[in-house]
């Protein structure tokens, strides 16, 4: 039986092959993991700054917040637009479209494969962090960990849908990566990667809450680090964004594919 075009055999084959593919490029993935050091740079800056008091995170809470932000980012990175643009430009997309499986699943599988490959590197970096800051060490409760995992996975889903939306525009314009940059900038500043959301002036916070960005890093990171956080509101917002984006992506994708075949593919 197929659910969304998937059954157990397809899932296993997709994940298995993509994981094997990712394992071949371990050096690259280690470097990518390392390129996520930004939260640590910001942590060293915030913890030495006079402005720390306005964050509402005292003691080791700040260390834990930024480590969690690092981890959440590691497992919600999406580079779908870049892969898709290349596939579309080089014509690799056409055979994928012929298969009786939605091509987006292929990208989902390769991201999940990458996350699995990334796990040891991310754990290693977290280990080094605890060696330097032993007082910040903590083990989240099982329930807390599962909730954080779910929240991170939802963050991944939202990011993936946002990028798929931009990637679908590839059918109309070849330069989707330029648009992706415009999406990345508000993500960078308002997701909580560089500063916890509480650092911003109340008016900005109020406004940012209506965008998907704080639910991509800030919310999952707070769940993981054990900060008091409104779980129901956070998950509701994440679900709402998935529910809003998913139909949009599917509609735009279908229109795009129709246009793509009209061009003779």
């Amino acid at each position: 039986m197929r659910v969304f075009g998937l059954n157990r055999r397809i899932v296993r084959a997709l994940l298995g092959s993509q994981y094997a593919h990712m394992l071949e490029y371990r050096a690259e993935i280690a470097l990518w993991a390392l390129s996520g050091v930004l939260p640590f740079i910001m942590l060293s800056l915030w913890s030495g700054s006079d402005a720390r008091s306005q964050l509402g995170l005292d003691g080791v809470a700040l260390d834990r917040y930024f480590l969690s932000a690092f981890l959440v980012r590691q497992f919600s990175v999406v580079w779908m637009v870049y892969a898709f643009e290349e596939d579309a430009l080089l014509g690799r997309l056409s055979p994928y479209l012929l298969q009786p499986l939605h091509p987006l699943w292929r990208y989902v599988a390769s991201h999940l494969g990458e996350q699995l490959t990334r796990l040891p590197f991310a754990a290693g970096i977290a280990g080094v962090f605890f060696l330097i800051q032993p007082q910040a060490f903590w083990i989240p409760s099982l329930a807390g960990f599962l909730l954080a995992w779910l929240a991170t996975w939802m963050a991944f889903a939202i990011t993936f849908l946002l990028q798929s939306l931009i990637a679908s525009l590839c059918f109309w314009s070849e330069k989707a990566t330029a648009l992706e940059r415009l999406l990345f900038l508000p993500f960078l500043f308002f997701s909580g990667l560089l500063a916890p959301l509480t650092a911003f002036p109340p008016a900005v916070q109020e406004w940012v809450r209506w965008t998907p960005f704080p639910y991509l890093i800030d919310f999952p990171a707070r769940v993981l680090s054990g900060d008091p956080v409104n779980l129901a509101a956070g998950f509701a917002a994440q679900l709402a964004w998935v529910a809003l984006l998913l139909p949009l992506v599917l509609v735009l994708w279908r229109a795009g594919v129709r246009r793509y075949s009209a061009m003779g593919a």
Binding site: L31, G36, G48, S49, S173, K175, R181
Partner: protein
């Protein structure tokens, strides 16, 4: 020498012509530059407030640092990323062989082949921001200060280029490290803020190992008239060492490069 100069003009002329064909793209790039600077300033402002400083630097002084960072970010976008990021592609597709066969220095070719004009807008904005910050801090620009700042900016550019080149050249071995340079980019982001804002071990790291300090903090200090002579000398030495290392490493890498056919 004249040949290199003429080649360079050709390279950049064609790059400009190609870019201008994508007008919408240029607009998107300009919008991205504006958003990026706006976001950076918002983030920087979070560290300041009544009676608050960042590592002993006040808002106007920190603006100079942010301005110089923007200049070098623009330089990265305009020049380093398009050229050095492509080395991986040459290796992977075997076209590095063609570069090596050309009667022109291969490092010159891979380093200066093209440029992205969108980055220039960032350079201009950054210079403007640094100038504004200096003006607000009451800096009087004497010819000596101006010449020293320009010299230090050139030292910084040389350091930045050498660092990028060193990392980009490793792609001769690790063919698929698409963006080994992304790690560098992430680390260089630390140059957005004055060096004194970081804890001591990081300060040492950012001065000697990964000399981010010389990109932004040192030129800003020169502008504010409080840079020490030994530090400036260290900058020159480091630039020389890093450039020599980049050159040596490239020649070493080429000896180990087995072309697509062999």
């Amino acid at each position: 020498m004249g040949r290199y100069w003429r080649t360079l003009r050709r390279f950049w002329g064609t790059a400009l012509a190609t870019q201008l064909e994508y007008q919408l793209n240029v607009l998107v790039e300009l919008l991205a530059v504006a958003l990026s600077l706006g976001g950076s300033l918002l983030l920087l402002s979070l560290f300041f407030g009544p009676g608050r400083e960042l590592g002993g630097w006040n808002w106007n002084q920190a603006l100079i640092v942010q301005g110089f960072y923007t200049v070098f970010d623009g330089m990265t976008t305009a020049w380093l990323r398009p050229n050095l990021g492509a080395i991986v592609t040459y290796v992977r597709e075997g076209t590095l062989d063609f570069v090596l066969l050309k009667p022109i220095d291969s490092q010159f070719w891979v380093s200066l082949r093209t440029f992205a004009p969108a980055g220039l807008s960032e350079v201009v904005l950054g210079l403007g921001l640094a100038g504004w910050g200096a003006h607000q801090s009451g800096v009087v620009l004497t010819p000596v200060v101006l010449v020293t700042v320009l010299l230090m900016l050139m030292v910084a550019a040389l350091i930045l280029y050498s660092l990028w080149f060193l990392i980009a050249a490793t792609s001769i071995w690790f063919v698929k490290t698409w963006n080994a340079t992304e790690v560098l980019r992430a680390l260089l982001a630390s140059g957005r803020y004055p060096l004194e804002a970081y804890p001591a071990p990081l300060r040492l790291l950012f001065t000697l190992v990964l000399p981010v300090a010389f990109l932004t903090t040192v030129p800003a200090e020169v502008l504010l008239g409080r840079a020490s002579l030994p530090l400036l000398a260290l900058g020159f030495v480091l630039a020389g060492v890093f450039f020599a290392a980049a050159r040596g490493f490239w020649l070493f890498a080429l000896r180990h490069y087995t072309s697509a056919s062999s």
